[in-house]
């Protein structure tokens, strides 16, 4: 395959488009058909073979424009013709000789060798652009060139001075070119990875440590995550219990054939769309993390049809309508501060919350419902009401408890996790986005 295409595909992959080997082969065939003559045709053709979603098309467009704007070095040095007496040749540094000869192909080769030698691909931050340009220059032998220029200056001869000036010009142009090269390299091959790097870090960061300014960032990541999970799980699917004959159905189906069993029906199960009840602790002990729980709850609320949300502290209230009525920041703020809601925010009382839930909202739970409790189980030594939790567990399909504290702290002090835990189907520690993602994947 052609080098240009290979590099381009590499740049695309870097920008987040997944290009498989067979697709690169398609792209190569396309190239054979349409050639490089017409830029538009080339762009459309490669887009058809390589970018397969509207989102990818956008990325592709940007990448294409950036990639094929690479100019040749030749445009920069076309006017370089430096007169030199042959006798001084043997004393000159290699880079000086290169610039004097003005052979663009050789200069490019030397540049590319330098680039691969210092491993420009390791560059990750924009602050590294200058150091890397420097290193390219020094690998190409800029010291030798500088020494030559200095020596010519020192001779004090008019001719030599002129030569030094010409060399200085050539050096400046080379410098500019390399800086431009590094810039474009950064844009094409590094820029996008930085975005994914931030995302990766945020995903693994403890939710309580995420700062206010990253809130929007988190929102985007959470949305993306929920959307993806929903894409995978939102459709009702049938799973087949392999090899089990559904005798009743088979008989019914074959009545028309008067006995012979032509159509055999196997047993199958329908997997229902998830139905969720989420109960979230918003007290002070989980204050740092509750914002993200709510954020997540909000996103879930947007994509899952059957979901009821409750928050509690002293008592428990139904807040499903808040998510429907307000935009995300406002909804999260309202729920966090409890403003305008009938909720007391002083001391968490899990027992009271379970009583409230059991008395008023139990009808939301049936044998298809998954109940999720988000909280640290710190009950301020109130009555834990474990019997009610057991009732909830018995009536629901699954009861999941997500605790933001790490496991060793469970059961210490006023934490009732040691008593609540065994009553739940699943108990998990959950304090990074990745935890959340994995758990939600399980639920759906």
């Amino acid at each position: 395959m052609e080098r240009v295409l290979r590099d381009f595909i590499f740049a695309l992959r870097n920008a987040g488009i997944r290009v498989s080997v067979s697709e690169s082969l398609d792209a190569a065939h396309t190239l054979d058909l349409v050639g490089y003559e017409d830029r538009d045709t080339l762009k459309i053709s490669l887009a058809a073979a390589l970018a397969k979603t509207p989102h990818e098309k956008d990325i592709f467009k940007e990448c294409f424009d950036r990639f094929f704007s690479f100019t040749d070095y030749s445009e920069n040095v076309s006017e370089s013709d430096i007169d030199f007496e042959a006798e001084s040749d043997d004393l000159l540094a290699p880079l000086t000789t290169l610039l004097i000869s003005g052979d663009q192909a050789d200069i490019m080769t030397s540049l590319i060798q330098a680039v691969s030698k210092i491993q420009l691909s390791n560059m990750q931050f924009f602050t590294q652009k200058n150091p890397y340009s420097r290193r390219i220059l020094s690998t190409m032998g800029i010291e030798g060139l500088d020494r030559d220029i200095r020596r010519l200056d020192e001779t004090g001869m008019p001719g030599a001075m002129q030569q030094a000036e010409a060399l200085r010009d050539a050096r400046g142009r080379l410098f500019d070119y390399i800086r431009g090269y590094v810039n474009r390299y950064y844009d094409l091959f590094t820029h996008e990875t930085r975005a994914t790097m931030i995302e990766r870090q945020l995903k693994d960061m403890k939710l309580s440590a995420v700062e206010e300014r990253d809130f929007l960032h988190m929102l985007i990541i959470v949305k993306k995550m929920v959307k993806r999970l929903n894409d995978i799980h939102s459709r009702r699917r049938k799973s087949f219990r392999r090899g089990q004959l559904d005798f009743k159905k088979t008989m019914r189906k074959n009545i028309t054939y008067q006995g012979p069993l032509f159509n055999i029906v196997w047993k199958k199960q329908k997997i229902d769309r998830p139905s969720l009840v989420v109960i979230c602790d918003v007290s002070r002990s989980v204050r740092m993390i509750v914002r993200f729980f709510l954020l997540f709850l909000y996103s879930l609320n947007e994509v899952i049809g059957k979901i009821r949300s409750f928050i509690f502290c002293n008592n428990l209230i139904d807040v499903s309508h808040i998510f429907d009525d307000y935009p995300v920041e406002r909804a999260v703020e309202i729920l966090r501060t409890g403003r305008g809601l009938d909720i007391g925010l002083s001391r968490t009382n899990y027992g009271e919350a379970f009583i409230n839930f059991h008395d008023q909202h139990m009808r939301n739970v049936d044998k298809k419902t998954t109940v999720i409790i988000l909280g640290d189980g710190r009950n301020n030594y109130f009555e834990p009401e474990t019997a009610l939790l057991r009732k909830i567990q018995e009536k629901s399909k699954r009861l999941i408890w997500l605790n933001p504290e790490s496991v060793p702290f469970w059961g210490s002090g006023d934490s009732e996790m040691k008593r609540y835990g065994p009553l739940c189907d699943v108990v998990k520690e959950c304090n990074t986005l990745r935890h959340l993602e994995r758990i939600i994947d399980d639920i759906l």
């Binding site: 498989s20 697709e23 398609d26 065939h29 045709t41 058809a48 073979a49 979603t53 459709r235 054939y257």
Partner: protein
């Protein structure tokens, strides 16, 4: 495998030929078609509803003069409805008719094992192509002169069906357990359309060229109206397209598509309108707006929209 590629020599050629069957092909569409024809690849067409995805396949069929075989996808679509089915009735009927013959064969045998053995020699005749009911996919492969296969709204089908399509899309062959592998007599041109109600699998996308048809720009839309509703006056066409283009920028539930623009143009033609005014727009809004809320939104801004449209129409 032979394909009649005679009229597909260049991209411009395709554009021209499609104009001949009343379809305006943007360069993007034409280029993708050209590549698909040349590389023998299916095309996955995506885009908002009503931009002519299905029509593209239909017109391709009429321009290549090939039969169009259409498979409409829906949840629960399976092999027996898309690929082939055994004709149970016929099989039963034949066993009844041939009862005597079967008896003859069995009569001479002494015991059960021998009888079974004797019948075994003939059982293949009941599972031969004669008893096969071809469904769209199989019949597309059986066309001698080639065909255009349209797999419509693939996103509505189940994942399993998608996986099962892969064999057809990459190798143009299918496997029937009782008979064996059936290869295409001549490669069909395959179009898949999707409204993106769910993500398609990577495996499927990898096998296709991808074409995204967006809403057309004003110029293209005018051309389309011109070719589909040729009797509409020039100035009205300008105004109409400008109005629709403005509406697409509004925040409404369902944006009007090209097919709806065409419908509206036809309605205006029927009403003998020669320019847009508020009255006529208000009474025909429901032609291209399909939600009560959307109509309310547009109604509120009717004055400025109409003004803007008539202004641009004159310019």
């Amino acid at each position: 495998m032979v394909r009649s590629n005679d009229n597909i020599t260049s991209i411009e050629n395709i554009q021209q030929a499609f104009r001949g069957v009343d379809y305006i092909c943007s360069k993007q569409i034409a280029t993708t078609l050209y590549l698909a024809f040349r590389l023998n690849k299916p095309i996955l067409v995506e885009g908002p509803a009503g931009v002519g995805k299905t029509d593209l396949a239909k017109k391709t069929a009429s321009f290549l003069n090939l039969p169009l075989i259409r498979l409409q996808c829906y949840e629960g679509l399976d092999e027996s409805k898309s690929l082939y089915e055994w004709k149970y009735g016929k099989q039963l009927l034949y066993t009844q008719i041939l009862k005597d013959k079967l008896n003859d064969i069995v009569r001479e045998k002494n015991n059960l094992a021998e009888s079974l053995e004797a019948i075994h020699q003939y059982d293949d005749i009941f599972f031969s192509p004669r008893f096969l009911e071809p469904r769209p996919l199989l019949s597309a492969l059986q066309q001698r002169k080639g065909s255009v296969l349209l797999i419509d709204e693939i996103d509505k089908s189940d994942d399993e069906f998608e996986a099962f399509l892969l064999e057809i899309l990459s190798d143009f062959q299918i496997s029937i357990p009782e008979i064996g592998t059936i290869a295409a007599k001549s490669t069909p041109y395959v179009f898949l359309t999707s409204n993106n109600t769910r993500e398609l699998s990577d495996a499927l996308k990898r096998r296709c060229l991808h074409l995204f048809i967006p809403f057309p720009d004003a110029q293209l839309e005018r051309d389309i109206i011109n070719i589909r509703v040729p009797d509409l006056g020039d100035s009205l066409r300008f105004q109409l397209v400008s109005f629709i283009q403005q509406i697409r920028k509004l925040d409404i539930k369902k944006l009007p598509s090209i097919s709806e623009t065409i419908d509206w143009a036809r309605v205006l033609l029927l009403l003998h309108a020669d320019c847009l005014n508020m009255e006529i727009v208000r009474s025909t809004l429901n032609v291209f707006l399909k939600f009560e809320d959307d109509i309310a939104v547009v109604n509120d801004r009717l004055y400025e929209l109409t003004q803007q449209a008539t202004k641009e129409g004159h310019a």
